[in-house]
Subunit: 311 residues, 2 copies
DNA sequence: TATCCTTACGGAATTCGTAAGCATG
DNA sequence: CATGCTTACGAATTCCGTAAGGATA
């Protein structure tokens, strides 16, 4: 048994059982991969993959049970490397962050700035994607930490920690009727076409829930993955924008006015996540604490050890 | 990085940093081991071992931190093999049990008998030792499950589950004054010399506690690791024996009489233990349930997953 | 001086990629 | 017939044990 065999198996599952693709991913030849898998199966005495003729099509029951062990094993290989590097080169290395647009654009910049000053020799790589993509990157070991408001708690294999709470705001052009000073209600809001986030992004769930609860069916004329797009169309008077309050900046958004909507939609909780069992280098803890001061190293380490909590 | 390197490191720690011994344990040459370790250190970029001149004397801080990861990694290698075998040869394999004398001699036989009938093709290996040795065998991966009354809960890396409760009995020759029918008390007991278990064995802790609580200092004239020795000397009238009730058998021990001492000493709880993260083959669950019917597969699997419980 | 680790060297086994073969949709 | 897995083979590399060297208690 060796690591290459295990990597071949893991990659085969990830790449949909196409060994040619696996070979590319692992920078080796296709017959090589084929052999690695076959040899592992021989050694273990079980077929891990279902074969339709010569083609692999899925995992057998034993394969299904062994895969998590293989994953954990390879994860530990990374952990070993990371932990060693943490000593070998204390303050240099890579920090890979996966985040949604909202976080990358509005929440992270200040933490990133401070972190770069503290750890100039750490290469930061920031990957933007949907909450699902953020989770996928964490699970694949491609990112150390992920930050998003939605979806992260859904994954068995991720540990999540609360970072901060925030609410939505309504953004409208300066001459808009909603700026008449009367209290903002869902009912009033629903009289206007609405521009907001795509389903599954940045607290959209809470927006939908609020309307549904009052049996109001708002006319949503445009959805986008990020606040910048939403604000752009709110300026064009396509509709009333609903964005995260954090995404409105008086200085920059001079063509818009914000109305707090914290009382209309449930409070959102942005979470930080990492893969269970994934080793975090020393500076990763520093970054986390810079981003969310309540998440001290002790807090994060404890969350890592008691995998059942979802505080 | 490869498994042999990791095994060399693990074994070096286990064998007190003597690479010559490690080489024997791993069935290879001493320079080989030396090289494995050096190469791993080179690859990781950290020294794992403290070297005094040419001699290894201990772990460096990074070594200390990496060791648990190495252990888990190698444990998963075993898990992979075991899980595979569970499919490859469902009902054949090996079940290794570590137990104290009391358990091996009095509690296990019936479970072993039933298990052998159910799984004739499984090779049973039963290792007897002190509670500490039982724990050590589990930690070293040499035994699948361990059974003992003492000490097992002390180990961070072991998961333990309660099997059954039992109390002590006093055993004396047929003509002994304690058989006069008057209630047995610690005070009366302490008037006679006592023969019982060694410290750290089979509920000895509770015996000491009971006497200490009443500030009685019994005269313990002989201690032994097992009830058979104790009973032998009780027969020879060296002193009054205190043994686990389960160890007294009216049929066999015709030269002795037992007096229940359940009210004198705290109730003992015999526990079953296994290493956290250690894969258990299907028939292991069967054995456990045969031994302690309350420990169904579901119960055991749950204990495996929530490592913080010590119910 | 005995123990124990390192370095040096050479043979053996393993590994891996290329090329050819074959099944499937 | 294009895609995708397997088998075959040979070269290169890696691996590992023996033997010799050096440091320490």
């Amino acid at each position: 048994m060796n690591f290459q065999q295990l990597r071949s198996v893991r990659e085969a599952v990830r790449r949909g059982f196409n060994l040619t693709e696996v070979a590319h991913a692992l920078h080796t030849s296709q017959p090589g991969v084929s052999r690695q898998i076959r040899e592992l199966e021989d050694e273990l005495g079980v077929e891990l993959f279902v074969r339709a003729g010569k083609r692999l099509t899925g995992l057998t029951p034993p394969g299904d049970q062994l895969l998590p062990i293989v994953e954990r094993l390879l994860c530990d290989v990374d952990n070993l490397r990371n932990a060693a590097q943490d000593y070998a080169s204390q303050d240099s290395g890579t920090l890979s962050i996966a985040a949604t647009h909202s976080q990358a654009r509005y929440a992270l910049p200040s933490a990133v700035k401070d972190f770069r000053a503290l750890f100039p020799r750490v290469t930061l790589s920031l990957h933007q994607g949907s909450p699902q993509q953020v989770a996928a990157m964490l699970l694949a070991g491609e990112a150390d930490i992920g930050i998003a408001t939605e979806a992260l708690t859904q994954y068995e294999q991720l540990t999540t920690l609360p970072c901060y709470r925030w609410t939505h705001s309504v953004v409208v052009p300066p001459n808009h009727p909603l700026l008449d000073g009367a209290p903002l209600t869902l009912e009033r809001l629903s009289r206007f076409p609405i521009v907001t986030y795509d389903a599954g992004y940045t607290g959209r769930t809470h927006i939908d829930e609020a309307f549904a609860q009052q049996a109001i069916h708002p006319q949503i004329v445009l959805t986008a993955m990020d606040a910048d797009v939403i604000k752009t169309y709110a300026e064009l008077e396509l509709g009333v924008g609903i964005v995260a309050s954090i995404a409105f900046d008086e200085e920059r958004d001079r063509n818009l006015r914000a109305i707090d909507a914290g009382h209309l939609f449930a409070v959102n909780l942005t979470r930080l996540a990492f893969r269970k069992g994934h080793f975090l280098r020393g500076y990763v803890y520093s970054f986390i604490e810079t981003f969310a001061p309540s998440l001290t190293r002790a807090v994060v380490e404890q969350a890592q050890q008691s995998p059942d909590e979802n505080a």
